[in-house]
């Protein structure tokens, strides 16, 4: 145990709520952005998958919305320590997006309007654990929360769920994204409390 804070007793989380270490529960939906919220007209929106050389797949909003969708219930864990449980989303599974693409790439960089990027092992985008979400709580996703569409990858800290997504680049080598270049962990598993670079 570290230094005991004399007179501090804390306010324990309700016993039946299981949170990752160091997180506290919020019912709010805080908004944290590194820059301005981009305005993206749906008629100009597009989403691509590329390998750094060639565009492998491309959707506009109409063709994207013709893809099969799923309803998702997910717990969100932000590295700034708030967690929000049982959120409801609608989105297109990354299994659908990546399904027909053949590649031996092992990593991905997710790119956003506004030039935000975040990196992931490609395997984390597959197997029913990541979506391109466009509705939250039965309403179109608000711009401040990443609308028209954002990545939703709830098993990692929320900075990995890039807002305002515009594409995925398949990579043969891991390349740190925006926050990953600025002191945050490369992978970001909340249950292993991988907040900052250097955390195990």
């Amino acid at each position: 145990m570290g230094t005991v804070s004399r007179g501090f007793f804390g306010r324990r989380t309700v016993a039946d709520v299981k949170l990752p270490p160091g997180q506290y529960l919020t019912t709010d939906f805080p908004v944290l952005s590194a820059g301005p919220t981009p305005k993206i007209a749906l008629e100009k929106w597009e989403f691509t998958v590329d390998d750094g050389t060639n565009v492998l797949r491309r959707w506009n909003w109409k063709s994207f919305r013709e893809l099969p969708t799923e309803n998702i219930t997910a717990d969100l864990h932000c590295v700034t320590r708030w967690s929000k449980l049982g959120t409801h989303w609608e989105g297109v599974s990354l299994d659908t997006i990546l399904g027909e693409i053949e590649s031996d790439a092992e990593y991905a960089v997710v790119r956003s309007y506004g030039d935000y990027t975040t990196n992931l092992p490609l395997a984390d985008l597959r197997n029913k654990q990541a979506w391109i979400a466009f509705r939250f709580d039965d309403e179109d996703l608000a711009p401040e929360h990443g609308g028209p569409a954002r990545l939703l990858i709830p098993h990692l800290y929320l900075w990995k769920s890039a807002k305002w997504v515009r594409g995925i680049r398949l990579m043969h080598e891991d390349q740190p994204g925006f926050w990953e270049s600025l002191g945050y962990h490369d992978y970001g598993d909340p249950w292993r409390e991988q907040r900052y670079s250097g955390d195990e």
Partner: protein, 193 residues
């Protein structure tokens, strides 16, 4: 990132709800203005709670770290830090954290700073860094501070008035949005009390 222990060497109430905590930290690796730290409180039974707080102090070689903490009515950690913590006690922290929302001394371009409530804390770290770097370095490029404050949630940093009076080129208020007369040093310079 390792946890360090800081000793509380001074406490100062900036407002009825915000307190500045000055810590002396052994082997503090220094920081860049705008960065934050994680603070960990531990109860006698081992339960602990961690929160992040912005650094209000300019980088310095003396291992001195200042945090300004706004007390949240339903907070778990901020009431302890603003009401219970006493001079001489020890506090665990780790950092500095964050490489994006920062100001480095080599950046000499004019900047505009806009804050709401306790959001002024990291901006004061930047303003104090500029003051420490020497006001004349930035002559002709006074930064602007726009403080948005609520009547009960305003952090004033009155103790900086002398610094700003000595460095008239350092800080210029371009606008401020408040509901009542502001008490921040910048406004006090423009409208002496």
């Amino acid at each position: 990132m390792m946890w360090r222990v800081g000793t509380v060497v001074a406490l100062h109430d900036e407002t009825p709800t915000a307190r500045t905590i000055t810590l002396q930290v052994v082997d503090w690796p220094s920081h860049v203005a705008g960065q934050h730290v994680d603070v960990r409180l531990t109860a006698p039974d081992g339960y602990s709670a961690v929160r992040s707080y912005s650094l209000a102090s300019a980088p310095n070689a003396e291992g001195r770290v200042e945090l300004t903490v706004e007390r949240l009515p339903d907070g778990e950690v901020s009431p302890y830090l603003t009401q219970e913590l006493a001079v001489g006690e020890r506090l665990e922290l780790r950092g500095p954290i964050g490489g994006w929302f920062v100001w480095r001394s080599r950046q000499t371009e004019p900047i505009q700073l806009i804050a709401g409530g306790s959001g002024i804390v990291p901006l004061m770290g930047m303003i104090r860094s500029r003051a420490a770097a020497g006001g004349t370095v930035y002559k002709g490029h006074p930064e602007g501070l726009a403080a948005t404050a609520w009547p009960h949630r305003r952090i004033c940093y009155r103790r900086d008035d002398l610094v700003f009076q000595a460095n008239p080129d350092l800080l210029r208020v371009r606008s401020h949005i408040i509901r009542r007369k502001c008490c921040c040093p910048a406004c006090r310079l423009r409208e002496p009390p």
